[in-house]
């Protein structure tokens, strides 16, 4: 009991601390001062009157929302004896795997630097700063030579790493049993079965109408913060900028839905790479921000800096996390805020190795388990012809289906991610897509043919697909 109370007061203290630095706090303070002019606010009952004033004017609701959104990302209280890295990832072998994956990425980034003899970061000469500022709204028209740059990694490289994950304490044994997992992911993690998923997604039941949300919630805009990031982009040239450029050119610029927003993507992603507030999410991300050292001081911790400043190295397809949100916001700074929030709450889990139920490893396992358990014939058939289903669905899940579904459908899906505060629905949808095309897939005899059957998902209707898979296909 005592423990719980002290936990609670700790959480309250931390949330108060966090909110004190926010725009909302400043606004509340201003409102409180201004309210003193009002007749109904009396000195005798100042505290109560101001509380009442906040209630009537709707500020209380805004505060509640802010507290709720903090609680949402706040990690569950852990055992007092557990070291902080357990918050990032409790399993040692996962931590190790993530660590060596990070080393690989950083090495690849560094060797690109050396090969191209380009510094990781440099200050832009004043002339270039001016030039960039002038073309801020049309960076897409700029055609720098990016032929030598290559994405640091692509989803399929990452999949290879996940396939090779093993738990050293787990003895699989030689004998095959019905429990044997025949998919590519070979680590024992607890994933939900259909009855559990039904319970979890009970609102998706067949008799429940599924709507989109028409009005977007009012995110208090923070233009100033965005402008600071923009200044930072103007002043400094980073190697990751070229990677972002290259990625946008390779993906969104060629996309029927998103090419229109090319410039918004630069405006969001370049600022994102400078946003040190993103570093906060590494407290609960199994990944750690890469470090770089001031020239000549390699290995000296006091000269270490995070690189890029937000600690996130973009990979092939990264810009697709932003692209669908362009349909929702006309102003880049609003778009930016929403994207950052989506990233630090959800998307980071799609390219970090962890045991979290929303982490990509669990999603892969959930997907494979669903197929193997509920569509065994399809699963075995595809496996026999060398078309392991995960080889096809992995890229969908890593990108949260962005670039695969029609935008309206994608937004319906992302609404559910937010609503259920979980990415598990991605794995369910991936399995549902296989179920939906099962008849055609049973006829194919090669990986290429299976890929062809699943090449175009733009005609799919997400909600009925999920509903039917969860509540009508298997019992």
């Amino acid at each position: 009991m005592l423990q719980e109370e002290s936990d609670l007061s700790l959480i309250i203290a931390q949330i108060v601390q966090k909110l004190k630095g926010s725009n909302l706090y400043a606004q509340l303070e201003r409102q409180a001062w201004a309210s003193l002019q009002r007749p109904e606010i009396r000195l005798e009952s100042l505290k109560e009157d101001i509380k009442e004033f906040f209630k009537i004017t709707g500020w209380e609701k805004k505060l509640q929302n802010a507290v709720y959104s903090e609680l949402n990302v706040y990690p569950l209280p852990r055992h007092p004896a557990a070291p902080p890295e357990h918050l990032k990832e409790p399993l040692v072998y996962m931590r190790k795997a993530q660590g060596s994956w990070e080393k690989r990425i950083l090495k690849s980034l560094n060797s690109m630097c050396t090969e191209l003899s380009i510094p990781l970061a440099r200050k832009r000469p004043v002339g270039q700063q001016k030039e960039l500022l002038n073309k801020w709204n049309e960076m897409g028209t700029d055609e720098p030579d990016l032929s030598l740059f290559r994405p640091v990694y692509a989803p399929k490289d990452f999949l290879e790493v996940l396939i090779n994950l093993r738990n050293p304490n787990y003895e699989n044994g030689d004998s095959l049993s019905f429990r044997t997992h025949l998919g590519l992911i070979q680590v024992p993690l607890k994933v939900k079965d259909i009855p559990e998923l039904k319970e979890c997604f009970v609102e998706l039941g067949l008799n429940t109408g599924q709507l989109g949300i028409d009005d977007s919630t009012q995110v208090p805009p923070d233009i100033l913060y965005y402008e600071q990031l923009k200044t930072n982009v103007i002043q400094h040239d980073l190697l990751v900028d070229s990677l972002i450029y290259k990625d946008v050119k390779l993906t969104a610029s060629n996309d029927d839905y998103y090419f229109v927003f090319e410039d918004y993507l630069y405006q969001v992603l370049l600022c994102f790479s400078r946003d040190t507030s993103v570093l906060g999410h590494f407290a609960y991300n199994s990944a750690s921000p890469p470090k770089s050292y001031i020239r000549g001081k390699l290995g000296l911790e006091e000269y270490a800096v995070f690189y890029p400043p937000n600690g996130v190295i973009p990979f092939h397809g990264f810009s697709m996390y932003v692209a669908p949100l362009c349909f929702l916001y006309h102003e880049p700074y609003k778009l930016y805020q929403t994207f950052r929030e989506m990233y630090v709450r959800f998307f980071f889990r799609l390219h970090s190795i962890s045991s979290h139920p929303s982490g990509i490893v669990s999603l892969c396992l959930l997907f494979e388990t669903l197929l193997q358990t509920y569509l065994p014939q399809l699963f075995y058939h595809l496996r026999e012809i060398g078309a392991q289903p995960l080889r096809i669905s992995f890229k969908w899940m890593v990108r949260a289906f962005s670039g695969y579904l029609a935008t309206d459908q994608l937004l319906l899906l992302w609404d559910r991610i937010l609503g259920y505060n979980s990415l598990e629905i991605l794995a369910v949808l991936a399995a549902a897509v296989f179920a939906f095309r099962a008849v055609n897939l049973m006829e194919v005899t090669s990986l290429a043919a299976a890929e062809a059957v699943l090449a175009d998902l733009s005609t799919l209707k997400v909600m009925p697909l999920l509903q039917i898979f969860l509540f009508a296909t298997v019992t």
Partner: protein
């Protein structure tokens, strides 16, 4: 019906030929007997010219109306719309109602336009009222963005008229008329870029008017950022969205071709501006298309052998008001991307299903009222016969003088095809 349709075309496009072949139609030459001729606008002129005196028989169909130019030539379209508005005004129609500035409330959908050189003095008068305005000069008879330029000073137009008089090369075409239109300098921008809408509209008869809207239109985007600054007036890539022009730009992308579907536009507008204003915008777009067709219907030679698929070009301004820019009689059937090919193949397929029912040998005396199932991606935009029946009933119920305006009677998202019932 016995026999296969014999077809001719002078436009060698695979989207056409594949569609003809799919129906098992037989290709013949122009000099043989034919049932179906998909022809260019040059050919239609000859077919219906007084000299050739060509008589079409009942089993022959062509894809243009003889005097389609009443709608598809920029100067004539404006002339017809101006005349239509005046007539409605004279009749005291509520549609011709004006606001306090003398602007039509429901019929102000074409940018202010003058013919040059004929209306030069009128133009100068208008220009002087608002000397900072930008105007766009277009040759009346050309398409695909040819011969278009922008001006924002009177001296430029004086120079143009001097040049075209002195140059010997132009002398033969001095009779070439231009239209000068007020340039929409506050276009709606998406992702900072300007675009226009290309919508396909099929007319099967003008009297009574029966027209269909193709649901799969698209937005055409400029590859270069839009800037209203006058220093960029010469950079046509900023201002013109014609694919024929944009294809020469360095940034032209051959995967999407700068084309964005209308459903993308709708989703974007619903999310950023709201559902209601978006529906209003699309209703207004349908409204101006119907009004433009009504404007030309009385002068159109409603030949029973004809149908026509028009390419409507519409620009939306930043207040979400749509403007009719021009109508094309031969919308491009060139496919710039894979999706484009699919779209145009389907467009022709659906067009043929309506124009040549069942792919059988045509009989131009049929009542041209196909069943719902064959409409494909088309939806009925306006059916005068139905509207009149419906309208008479409506008039009894509604107060006199109440405008059926652009908000009128379309419910959407109900899953059933809804008829437009404006009068």
């Amino acid at each position: 019906m016995a026999g296969k349709v014999k077809w001719v075309t002078d436009i060698e496009k695979s989207v056409l030929i594949n569609n003809f072949e799919k129906r098992g139609w037989v290709q013949v030459t122009e000099s043989e007997d034919w049932n179906f001729y998909w022809m260019s606008v040059q050919t239609i002129r000859n077919v219906f010219s007084v000299e050739t005196g060509y008589r079409l028989s009942d089993d022959q169909i062509v894809n243009h109306f003889p005097n389609h130019y009443e709608l598809t030539r920029k100067d004539l379209m404006v002339k017809n719309i101006k005349r239509y508005r005046k007539e409605l005004e004279k009749e005291g129609s509520p549609l011709a109602e004006k606001d306090e500035n003398g602007k039509y409330l429901y019929l102000d959908f074409v940018p202010v336009t003058y013919m040059l050189p004929a209306d030069y003095n009128l133009f100068v008068e208008e220009f002087r009222k608002n000397p900072s305005s930008t105007w766009i000069m277009k040759p009346c008879g050309k398409a695909q963005g040819k011969g278009i330029f922008l001006i924002n000073r009177l001296s430029q137009i004086k120079k143009w008229s001097r040049d075209s008089k002195t140059s010997s090369f132009v002398s033969q075409s001095t009779k070439e008329a231009y239209v000068i239109s007020l340039y929409i300098n506050n276009p709606l921008l998406i992702g900072g870029r300007k675009f226009d809408l290309r919508l396909y509209v099929l007319v099967s008869t003008y009297r009574p008017l029966r027209c269909y809207m193709y649901k799969l239109g698209f937005c055409r985007f400029c590859t270069v950022k839009y800037t209203p600054s006058t220093s960029e007036l010469d950079n046509m890539f900023v201002h013109l969205t014609n694919v024929a022009i944009q294809k020469h730009g360095e940034d032209y992308n051959h995967i999407h071709g700068g084309k964005w579907t209308v459903s993308n536009l709708r989703l974007y507008l619903e999310s950023t501006r709201g559902r209601e204003v978006t529906s209003k915008l699309f209703d207004e777009i349908h409204w101006i298309i119907v009004q433009s067709l009504k404007a030309v219907a009385p002068v159109m030679n409603n030949d029973k052998h004809c149908f026509e698929c028009y390419g409507y070009d519409i620009i939306i301004d930043d207040k979400l008001k749509p403007w009719l820019i021009e109508v094309n009689a031969s919308p491009s059937l060139t496919s710039s991307t894979a999706n484009d090919r699919i779209l145009k193949y389907n467009l022709i397929n659906d067009t043929l299903n309506i124009a040549v029912p069942n792919g059988e040998i045509p009989d131009c005396k049929w009542n041209k009222s196909p069943p719902r199932e064959v409409l494909g991606h088309y939806e009925i935009l306006y059916d005068e016969e139905l509207a009149q029946g419906d309208g008479a009933e409506r008039e009894l119920r509604s107060r006199p003088g109440q405008t059926p305006g652009p908000k009128g009677g379309r419910s959407r998202d109900t899953g059933r095809t809804v008829l437009t019932t404006w009068k």
